[in-house]
Amino acid sequence: MSKTKFKKFAPPLEISEHDIIFWIGDLNYRIDLNIEEVKKCIRKSEYKSLIKQDQLYRQLKANSEVFKGFEEGLPNFDPTYKFDAGTDNYDTSEKSRVPAWCDRILWRGPGVKQLRYDSHPQLKVSDHKPVSSLFEIGVRVIDEKRYKRVYEDIMKKLDRLENDYLPQIKIDNTDLIFKDVKFIEPQIKVVTVANIGQIPVEFEFINKLDDPTYCKPWLKVTPCKSVILSGICCEIQIEVYVDKMTAAKLNSGEEKLEDILVLHLSGGKDSFITVGGNYLISTFGSSIEALVQLHGPIREVPVAELIQIEQPGSLSLVDITQDGGRLYMVPKEIWKMVDFLHKHGLDKEELFQQPGRNSEIQIIRDCLDTGKPENISDSLSVHSVAESLLLFLECLAQPVIPFEFYSRCLSTSNNLLLSKQLVSGLPDCHKNTFLYICAFLRELLLYADKNGLEIKFLATMFGECMLRPQKQLFTSASSREAVVKERRSKLREEEAKKAAFMYHFLSHDIELL
């Protein structure tokens, strides 16, 4: 019985776990008197003297372990056992049992009031007389009003708990302005993210809608994902760095220094960090077309005008020579660098091999962009100027050999005549620049005994700078190994063809058709 469980409750309740228990049954307790004494009492209805000798009554009084906590009313009726079935006569058999209150009704629990406790001697079927009892009991009911209040309070608490346990952060600056960003000069700002919630926060910068990356290519965020413990701050470095990959689009106005970073909290909200600023247009990343139109330093030209001359075909749209203007044969910046190398570098070893100094390249950039000083200072290292020249060529919005000629270049690379034809078909400013650089390289080769330069090396190096395909090669960094391998071999093949193309123009002074 102790294992009985009422399954309709969740969790199931055992008997003993109920508020009120009624125990009804033939409990088989006897009266500790002899038969004569019992029968005498029965005749006089002296139930009180009988009950005092009742085993159950005594047990309950003594607070024993049996029926602990149960109560019983005093029976005000004859003992209900044992009768000759069908009669009102106590047992007349040989055994002649002593009459007893075997059949009892007990209860346990609060608020129970016994109104009646009876036996029913008129029923004669059994050797017992049935007993019955009427109770008035208090039953707990739900006070709908208060129940609703409590329910709502709990729901509110749960909601609050849920909201409290959402990740919470505070960002000290969500609007970053980078002023006067210069080419290849990084600017860094630090954003402090404080975890002001009660749980660790896992954050990550996520892609905006369908963008392939979470930020623009000129932007770098470290760390871009991390975990911050409650009460701790995390510093995030936001770096703007315009390099050869991104300069051209910023110059032409196609791209702006504007981005929104989405800082996503795992299981929580998203915050936006706006990045803005202005880029100081540089001759690095301009187009040859624009540069040959520019007489003064680029920094002194209004941005709108620059954007206009940066548009493809700007040269053919307006004939600036009509207004007394003139076009440079080659961009003056290229001339300045070549001139410097011509003066100081013809006999320098490891030209174009030794890296330049970053700080010096920045000085050269400023010199070319502002015209101050007018020429590249003689005190700078030739290697810095040489690297600047390579960088300059790599950055051109359109390579010296424009994109549209690229694949033709590769296919004609083994044929001198076709290569010559191709070059003569280039737009004037591109053709001039190409021939100008080739002439300079040929001159360098005249000093090969001193500078140690080899024609193949120069052909390869300048082939890479002046012939570029339209698509950037670095785009999908996540490619599989096989794809990477295939791409590498293709790259090597293209590199050889570019070098072969250049080789024609470095080995001879070619008269164009």
């Binding site: 905006k208 909200k269 936006f272």
Partner: protein, 200 residues
């Protein structure tokens, strides 16, 4: 216990111009507070609140109204079952923008049957520029519910979300809703916790 232990969760998004009171509505609804000082929302916040009748948990997304973030909003509204389009009754512009921009915006990034609720907030202000008649007409013509609220005094705020929840239950059966793009994996965990707490 008569109440469902695991109420359905529905995602609702507040959209509208800046300074019409989206965050204030959310605040008042979630924890019954009001802050008079205006502070632009940067980013996307959400809070949850469980209603008793109907028994649902509302996950309320408060969006940034600032124009420069608009391109990012579809990311947050496209799986909402209800869009709350908020304007300020004392700003004609904010109402005109609901008509010319926001309604289109939510409709073009919506799940089928999404419930739309037009809300004229700041009903307590006496420099009204948009009549409730005009707004009601507009709402009726565009199959949109309508209500005026005051986030400052809490007028109609609970009512708004209760009505919205009822409308969602009617318009979007739970089965469809389950597939409606709500991040169920996030929610399940929370529900489990909730069950435990409810018994404790």
């Amino acid at each position: 216990m008569t109440a469902a232990i695991k109420p359905r969760t529905m995602k609702m998004a507040l959209v509208g111009d800046i300074n019409v009171g989206k965050t204030s509505l959310a605040r008042m609804f979630i924890d019954g507070t009001f802050q008079a000082r205006y502070q632009a929302s940067v980013g996307l916040h959400f809070h949850t609140k469980t209603l008793r009748d109907p028994s649902v948990t509302i996950q309320l997304w408060d969006t940034a109204g600032t124009e420069r973030y608009r391109s990012l909003l579809p990311h947050y509204t496209r799986d909402a079952v209800c869009a709350v389009l908020v304007y300020d009754i004392s700003s004609r512009d904010s109402f005109d923008n609901v008509r010319s921009y926001w309604l289109d915006f939510v409709e073009s990034h919506a799940i089928p049957n999404m419930v739309k609720f037009l809300v004229g907030n700041k009903a307590d202000v006496d420099t009204r520029e948009v009549s409730d008649y005009e707004a009601q007409m507009f709402a009726t013509n565009h199959d949109t519910f309508f209500m005026e609220t005051s986030a400052k005094f809490g007028t109609n705020v609970d009512n708004l979300f209760t009505e919205a929840a009822k409308a969602v239950i009617k318009a979007i059966p739970e089965t469809q809703f389950e597939n409606g793009g709500i991040r169920l994996e996030d929610l399940h965990r929370k529900h489990d916790r909730r069950c435990c707490l409810a018994h404790a």
